[in-house]
């Protein structure tokens, strides 16, 4: 248990709490139907989003999916530009033109976001190839899920990146869901380690939602990709603690219920990155950080 943190660790911890807090704000707004666009909240994705955001250097790029809120909040470091984008306002991160599912933010490294399953892999390869041709030393991280990686272009793009020495990191957030279907309900198991091994791409699996462990792992993976000038793949076990899209709960008797009034923690289990953080920090330290985050909500 930590009773003190260094600057980098404190930054990670605060970010996890911020991203959780801001998602609560968005979820409460969704309950009131204030947004003209659908929003895919990502309670439970905070540790991965913060760790990947922290891994990125100035020259790196991030390529996202429709469930991009945790990553966009972590990279933007503020709620307002994301919230405004959901309101389709000119002050939004995408000037009100992109909405939620395509929200990118090039100023913070989010160069492309796609709502189409599998669409972003090839684009990520193109960004990485352009980097290589221009002599730019950037890593391109492309996010996907256990559903979108079923698209054939996932395999194509991993092979493409490996064939041409592209600094591409494929990150699979495995939340065992595609819309309402679990993996068992829709396909045979896919052993990503073997799939990647088949084309010679290094593979790592992460679980546990400890943002400190994730940050170390991603820093190491980045070094591997950059030094080898070749892709890698990371699969992260994630539990999405909200409905597929829209507010949670979505109706009065919805068994899934998230309420900001109950605090930042949603589940008293390791599926919740905030709960995990609370477990590894001394109570006084956690209380201090939580107080700091809640006192600076970042509006609205």
């Amino acid at each position: 248990m930590f009773d003190r943190l260094d600057i980098a660790q404190r930054h990670l911890a605060v970010k996890v709490l911020q991203v959780r807090h801001w998602q609560h704000v968005v979820n409460e707004a969704l309950k009131k139907n204030v947004f003209p666009v659908p929003v895919h909240v990502a309670f439970g994705h905070e540790a991965a989003a913060v760790a990947i955001g922290a891994m990125m250097q100035a020259e790196d790029s991030l390529v996202l999916t429709h469930r991009n809120i945790a990553y966009n909040l972590a990279r933007a470091g503020a709620l307002q530009p994301v919230y405004d984008e959901y309101m389709r306002l000119p002050s939004g991160a995408g000037a009100g033109r992109l909405g939620s599912m395509n929200l990118s933010n090039p100023g913070h490294g989010v160069v492309y976001t796609s709502s189409i399953l599998g669409n972003n892999f090839g684009v990520a390869c193109g960004v990485a190839l352009a980097n290589r041709l221009a002599g730019r030393a950037g890593l391109v991280s492309v996010l996907t899920g256990d559903g979108a990686m079923e698209e054939g272009t996932f395999y194509e793009s991993v092979a493409l990146a490996q064939s041409h020495g592209l600094r591409c990191l494929f990150v699979v957030e495995n939340n065992n869901h595609a819309l309402a279907s679990t993996i068992d309900q829709r396909r045979c198991p896919i052993d990503l380690a073997k799939l990647c091994g088949g084309v010679g791409v290094p593979f790592l699996r992460l679980s546990g939602n400890d943002v400190f462990a994730y940050a170390s792992a991603f820093a190491e993976v980045r070094n591997t990709v950059m030094s080898a000038s070749a892709p890698a793949c990371v699969e992260i076990d994630v539990t999405t603690m909200n409905r597929h899209a829209g507010a949670t709960p979505g109706w009065p008797t919805d068994p899934m219920n998230v309420d900001f009034q109950r605090g930042l923690v949603i589940a008293e289990r390791t599926i919740d990155p905030v709960f995990v953080l609370k477990q590894v920090l001394a109570p006084a330290l956690y209380a201090e950080l939580e107080r700091e985050v809640l006192m600076h909500p970042g509006s609205p």
């Binding site: 990118s104 160069v111 976001t113 669409n119 892999f121 090839g122 193109g126 041709l133 221009a134």
Partner: protein
């Protein structure tokens, strides 16, 4: 006089060789038949790259857009337009994202250069010949190159210009003599080219039908009648005014369209001219409809003699 594919290969290789940092990619572009001669002798400047790729059309289309988004200039050579159906997601969704998030001038360049299998030799699955449908589904500029004038403009400038476009070449014309035509007018967006000026008839050619329009124009000239000859590319919101103005003078419009589509762009032109309100006679030469236990024929046969008789009547 070089044939069609040799002339276009020369223009393409010249443009590519003169474009700093260009990346050209595609299957078999630097080996085998060099895509039936299309990419023969391809060379890039020292900071460019030639990539002989794997067979992953969808991902490769996405890669081209990713490069364009990052400011790079690239060309994807595709052996058949049919294969590009696997990239339609990117033509629509990826392209829509890019045009909503970045001004064209800030982008790199992405062109797809595809051979259109319009010669009827490769079976029912290798005969996709509906460039206009590609254009329509995502409002993409699509150019069907048929002669020296449009080649100079499209290959010489559009091929590596900022933004995205598709360029189609006709397999049917491969071994034919490359048409060297005079130029009367070229629209700034490459949508409409005019090759001859005449007051007796207006001929508008779509897709790869220009040789047929040219034959009609020459047959009419042999009878002492002068026609205005146009070719039209599938560019969103083209400026039809030169054709409309010509029809206003001639009162006769002959339209050729050899593409296989229910929604022929030629119909848009006819509509546009009709809305001008002046009466005109029209002849529309298209492929036959699909038939039971078969489909629209690949051959595009035109009875020029019969057409001349009708136009002169």
């Amino acid at each position: 006089m070089p044939n069609y594919i040799t002339a276009l290969n020369q223009k393409i290789t010249a443009t590519v060789a003169a474009t700093p940092g260009i990346c050209v990619f595609g299957q078999n572009i630097n080996t085998g038949t060099f895509i039936t001669g299309l990419t023969k002798n391809l060379a890039v400047p020292p900071d460019g790259r030639i990539i002989n790729t794997q067979n992953s059309e969808n991902s490769l289309c996405g890669m081209g857009f990713g490069m364009m988004l990052s400011g790079a200039r690239c060309i994807y050579f595709a052996k058949q337009l049919d294969f590009m159906l696997l990239g339609v997601d990117h033509f629509v969704n990826t392209y829509n994202f890019i045009r909503c998030s970045r001004p064209t001038a800030t982008l790199g360049s992405f062109s797809i250069l595809a051979l259109v299998c319009d010669q009827g030799l490769q079976g029912p699955q290798s005969s996709f010949n509906s460039f206009g449908d590609f254009c329509s589904i995502a409002r993409i500029p699509c150019y069907s190159v048929t002669n020296s004038q449009d080649a100079a403009r499209i290959i010489g400038t559009e091929l590596v210009a900022p933004g995205f476009r598709m360029i189609g070449l006709s397999s049917r014309l491969f071994k034919t003599e490359f048409l060297e035509l005079p130029l009367v007018h070229a629209a700034g967006d490459g949508s409409v080219f005019q090759y001859t000026e005449g007051g007796d008839a207006t001929i508008a050619c779509f897709n790869f039908s220009l040789p047929h329009g040219r034959a009609l124009q020459q047959a009419l000239a042999a009878k002492g009648r002068q026609a205005s000859l146009f070719s039209v590319n599938y560019v969103p919101q083209p400026d039809w005014s030169p054709i409309r103005d010509s029809v206003a003078k001639t009162g006769k419009l002959i339209v050729f369209d050899d593409s296989k589509s229910v929604h022929l762009p030629a119909y848009r032109l006819l509509d546009e001219v009709a809305q001008a309100g002046r009466p005109f006679r029209r002849w529309t030469v298209t492929r036959g409809e699909d038939v039971d236990f078969g489909m629209s024929t690949d051959e595009f046969r035109v009875d020029i003699g019969a057409l001349v008789s009708q136009v002169l009547a």
